[in-house]
């Protein structure tokens, strides 16, 4: 049985000291606040989220719909009437990038939420499932881990593409699902490792002696203490999800037109190089999102892991 937990994306091993459920969260939050890069990242992300979400309610900021095609203004560069220029069908780039940011964020965060759900469930089940459960779930994790990521995403997406199904038919959900199904192993291993080590701690033994049920122990004592590294993994996983969506868009397996995700916008730019601005702005948006999530993740890791101070 492997003793080492895989931590791609995070650098501490799983056997850190436990954190007390209260008091340490406010400490962590204060530490995060002091990290100016992380705070800047949060501010930018909130700003982006607000700006892009605004397109759902009002056109004041976007100024154009992302799908309106103005044939008199095809392939223009940036100007006052079109901040980011127009694309090959005369659509306003600024509005498309804003919408793209919101869709990419939606997919990135959505995929990670599914990852969280699957990863935590599998991790907890593995840790508490005894030798058999643990073994079986760890084999499942191995198989998923062995599967080359993008290959699996492509296959899964090809299977679901073009089929009319009630819930799963929504393309954004399909993309989120495809990305999440390859990405949950990190969190599962993390949670399992943490839970296994925490199970040996005195306070758990104490709680059990006092008659607390397994469920209560897990939810009240153990899970909160695993949350630190899990939150960090969650934050670092969002950039991966956004990248994966961009790659899918490049291969033609992303969200369908005219919905602009940053991935499909970048692909459009690649295919219409005569107007570089179609490529530059979405690429810039991806880079900005990545930078922000990276700094945020760093900040969270610094704040939540006292050893790093």
């Amino acid at each position: 049985m492997q003793e080492v937990a895989y931590q791609t994306g995070t650098f501490e091993d799983a056997n850190g000291p436990p954190m007390r459920a209260r008091g340490l969260w406010s400490d962590a939050f204060r530490a995060l606040r002091r990290n100016r890069m992380a705070m800047l990242a949060v501010v930018i992300l909130l700003l982006l989220a607000l700006l892009s979400a605004s397109t759902a309610f009002t056109q004041a900021i976007a100024r154009y719909s992302y799908s309106d095609q103005l044939y008199q203004h095809v392939m223009e560069g940036p100007s006052w009437s079109h901040f980011f220029g127009t694309d090959y069908l005369g659509r306003d780039n600024w509005s498309r990038v804003l919408t793209g940011v919101s869709i990419s964020l939606e997919i990135g965060v959505g995929a990670q939420i599914i990852v969280l759900a699957i990863g935590v469930s599998v991790g907890v089940a593995a840790a508490l499932g005894g030798r058999v459960g643990d073994s079986a779930l760890m084999r499942l994790t191995d198989v998923t881990y062995a599967f080359p990521d993008l290959l699996f995403i492509i296959l899964l997406r090809s299977v679901l593409l073009g089929r009319h199904m009630p819930v799963l038919g929504e393309p954004r959900l399909q993309v989120m699902l495809a990305i999440a199904l390859v990405n949950w192993t990190t969190i599962a291993r993390l949670v399992r490792g943490q839970m296994l080590s925490l199970a040996e701690r005195e306070y758990v033994t104490a709680a059990r002696t006092l008659g607390a049920s397994n469920w209560r122990i897990v939810t009240r004592h153990m899970l909160p203490n695993t949350l630190g590294p899990v939150i960090v993994a969650f934050a670092f996983g969002i950039p991966f999800a956004i990248f994966a969506e961009a790659a899918l868009g490049f291969l033609g397996l992303g969200v369908p037109a005219p919905m602009p995700s940053l991935g499909s916008l970048v692909t459009d730019g690649y295919n219409h190089m005569s107007n570089v601005w179609i490529l530059v702005f979405p690429a810039g948006a991806i880079a900005l999102l990545m930078l922000c999530f990276t700094f945020l993740g760093d900040g969270l890791r610094d704040a939540l892991d006292p050893r790093q101070r």
Partner: protein, 561 residues
Amino acid sequence: MRRNISFIFLTALAAFFCLALAACGGSEAKMSQTITVDKAAPADQQVLVAQSSEPEFLDPQLSNFEGDVAIERMLFRGLYELQLDSSNNVVAVPAMAADEPQVNGNVYTITLKDNLEWSDGQPLTAQDFEYSLKRECSPDVAAPYQYLLGAGMLDLVGCDDYFNGQGTADGVGVKALDAKTLQMTLTAPKPTFTTIMSLWPTYPLRKDVIDKYGANWTDPANIVVDGPYTLTEFVAKDHATLAPNPNWALDPKPQLQKVTIKFIDDMEVAFNAFQTGELDMTQVAATDIPTIQNDSTLKSEYLQVGSLRISAVEMQMQNPVLANPNVRLALSRAIDRDALVNVVYNGAYLPATYWLAQGLPGYQGNDAFQSIIGYDPDAAKQALADAGYPNGQGFPKLTLTVADDPVRQAEGQFLQQAWKQVLGIDVDIQAADRATGADLYNSGNFELFQGGWQNDYPDPENSLIGVFNTDGANNQHACNDPDIDAKLAAAGAETDNATRIKDLQEAETLVVTRLCGVAPLWQGAVLYLVNSKVGGVRPNGAIDAAMPGNWCPECWFIKAQ
């Protein structure tokens, strides 16, 4: 680090914009090359061509894709070959045959030219043609284009029976009377005889080579050809190399010493490689036209060749909404084909309301149909109202199935927008990759499909028969019209060419005016870039998209610099 956030961000932004500016800075002026007729020294006679698909097979009778056929055209030559005459019409002229066939009722007799040889020195005989034609009908080979020799097409006696297991090879109506004379028996005389006999399924093959090497007979070490070039190297997924065949019997003899065909499926990659000089000839996408127009060198190297391809919105007639002719009329009249061609395809294609492509005998053009199904927003709205959906109210949401390549998707979005703006209806776009789309199409499982028709050979019967007759093999849009069926049946049985063409024209008129399953959009062209140092590239009509001037690859040469 914490003190210099702004520094980092500003540097990042600066780097970004530097890259962007560099990328959109003007291209470097290349020295324009003087065009002479002199040919370069043999050592320089090498050409690098891009082809978007890797060939599956180099056996002409197993081939299903343009990528295969394009290379086979350079390796083999049949009894006849296709050329463009002075008025740019496609004609079949004798290649290995000495002359037009002698027709005696249903019996066609062809005499071969003298002194024809294979690349290994063996004489090319009529027996080679007999073997090859029988093989094309063989059930063991399962040739995808066997139907070209069968009923309704060439109508070679016994071919379908043999293929379906109800006959033998001896029952097939082709016989070599002697080494230079081939006799073929059809069920009825066919005006399209020489055209079909120039196509790849009829290329001669060497029985002894195929028997000896089996499936590996097309390996460079084993292959024996009768065409202008022979295969010297084949690296899977990368490239194929050809060299001149010293025993090539016809004229002109190839000037090129080496042709390298690289398999590149992404057109942007090929376009970039052309600009760096790593490719001499390639196809380009319509989206690159603005870049090409803005560069004087590229502009002079750009070649646009009309193709026998009509793109259309296919409408599933079995769908109750689309079965209503007014609905189909509304959909067709809401599309501004001129704008579509200009915006999405940068003017490279021809707006079309017709079905028989320009270049085909019987072409009628837009004049006949523009006023009936062409762009007219008011008429479109009226038609929709007549159908029972004034202003689009109550109209169900339809789905348009679109290919996943970027230009086709742009067109899909254009159509979606047009229908929304003119008719007020919502149409969903469903992107499908090639195999999924083909699957949906072939099972008729679509409502609106971004399809059309590409001719297999340059005759109007290929555009209509099988495509619009009830139970036609390619009638996935379920056109079911007794008048059309009658016209197509008449045309298929007609032996007088002029009458036959007229019948087909009338069938076209019925199909288009009744929008029986299709609303034509544009006639395509194939776009190429040919480096100015390459000469002898004769644009050929139509069917061949992979390489420019593919009907006469022996005509290519490198000009002296």
